[in-house]
Amino acid sequence: MTVRTYLLPRSRPEALGLLGAHGPELLVMAGGTVAMPLINEGISLPEAVMGLRLAGLDGLERAGDRLRIGATATLTQLLDQDAVPMLREAARNTASWSIRNMGTVGGNLFTPPPGGDVAVALLALDASVTLASTRGERVLPLADFMTGFMSTELAADELLIEISVPIRGEPTAYLKLGRKHASTPSVVTVAARLEWRDGRVADARIALGAVGPHPIRAAEAEQLLVGTRLDAEAIAAAAVAAAQGCEPFTDGIATDWYRRRMAGLFVGRALEQLAPGAAGEGR
């Protein structure tokens, strides 16, 4: 352990000021579920750490037609809201109770695959993120925030402050395949949301986890669905496109070959849940 300084700001301005003063060598930690294993294993050797636990960034509230989630709201807090059911489902499928009590929604956006199951849901929900520094604030679509493996648009002097999610009534589907039922890394995670008009798909979101450098959209599959009645043929075509378009990897959980196969299969299953006549479909 090399940490010499632990900073615990009591407000957002104080946190931003400390980050600006200490520069990019200050390790920012929210729940610590990503950073602490790296520190304990001697891979990460920060001299100064800033904990965000008391910085007042843990709010979670409905504001008009959006759900505003503070960056350090825990995954357990997501379980307690009912404005966006898919987020509850995503949190329930992430890690274990003890980790959910510590891990934060903001931190989940920085978790390398096969982690980041909540980020997959947020991507399908068209979430946006607010980044702040002493220079000001900016809001980005989540899809533009994640740029690569463990890489984001976050500048060296910025903090992720808030995640904002539109509240819509459309039916959604969230499926995660793991090697066991709970507290398991993902083989593949699928989050799907469809907008309907006159019995046809007007817009589609399919987000995938654990089959790319970060949670990704299956853009070609989404396009193939628009204008269809989500019949078996359309579902099959979208599933093939999603499998072909992803970038799976091999790790101790699954091979890239298996992940690609399961990506197609689970996109198909998620869409079947949303198809006309399916149990629970809510158009």
Binding site: G20, G23, P24, E25, L26, L27, V28, M29, V34, A35, P37, L38, I39, E41, G42, I43, S44, L45, P46, G107, F110, T111, P112, T147, G148, F149, M150, S151, L154, A156, D157, P213, F249, T250, D251
Partner: protein, 164 residues
């Protein structure tokens, strides 16, 4: 650690090649680069601060262009050294131009030492690949915004730091 990939930019390859050899351009395109200077005909020294999830650190780097055939080919060797360890490696890149656009193909190998070596190979390669892609996206954006940005200039300029 092995990395390879390609990226296409909206600029002629002579401009792209010049930007790759220009410290001013490199300062703006290398992720986390805080300072860089040219210390020889084809040698550059710099400092890079990376703020990654759970891992922060500053690294000193030396890069040499050991072989080149402008504007189509180059071979780089270099070292990266910081508290978290070292990375020693080499890379080659080839530039192909078509219709005013340039595609850069790159391939490199690196050896990691120190605490960083405990990272899973997937993590190390994922991170390296991600940083390279980010750098090339930055270069593409810079050249698109200011086509003269990569024009060869006097490379022996003093060290510059990005304003806070």
């Amino acid at each position: 650690m092995n990395v390879r990939g390609s990226h296409t930019m909206e600029a002629p390859r002579a401009v792209v090649f010049a930007a790759i050899c220009d410290p001013d351009a490199l300062l703006g395109i290398i992720p986390g680069c805080r300072e860089i200077e040219q210390v020889g005909d084809a040698e550059y020294r710099g400092q890079i601060s990376l703020r990654l999830p759970g891992v922060v650190g500053t690294y000193r780097t030396v890069v040499r262009l050991v072989d080149s055939d402008p504007p189509s080919y180059g071979r780089l060797e270099g070292e990266l050294e910081g508290t978290l360890g070292t990375v020693t490696g080499h890379a080659t890149f080839r530039l192909a131009e078509s219709g005013g656009r340039t595609t850069i193909e790159y391939e490199g190998q690196g050896v990691i030492g120190g605490p960083l070596a405990r990272l899973d190979a997937r993590f190390a390669e994922g991170l390296a690949g991600s940083l390279i892609k980010q750098g090339l996206r930055n270069l593409g954006s810079r050249l698109k915004a200011d086509p003269a940005a990569g024009t060869p200039s006097d490379h022996r300029q003093p060290t510059r730091e990005i304003p806070a």
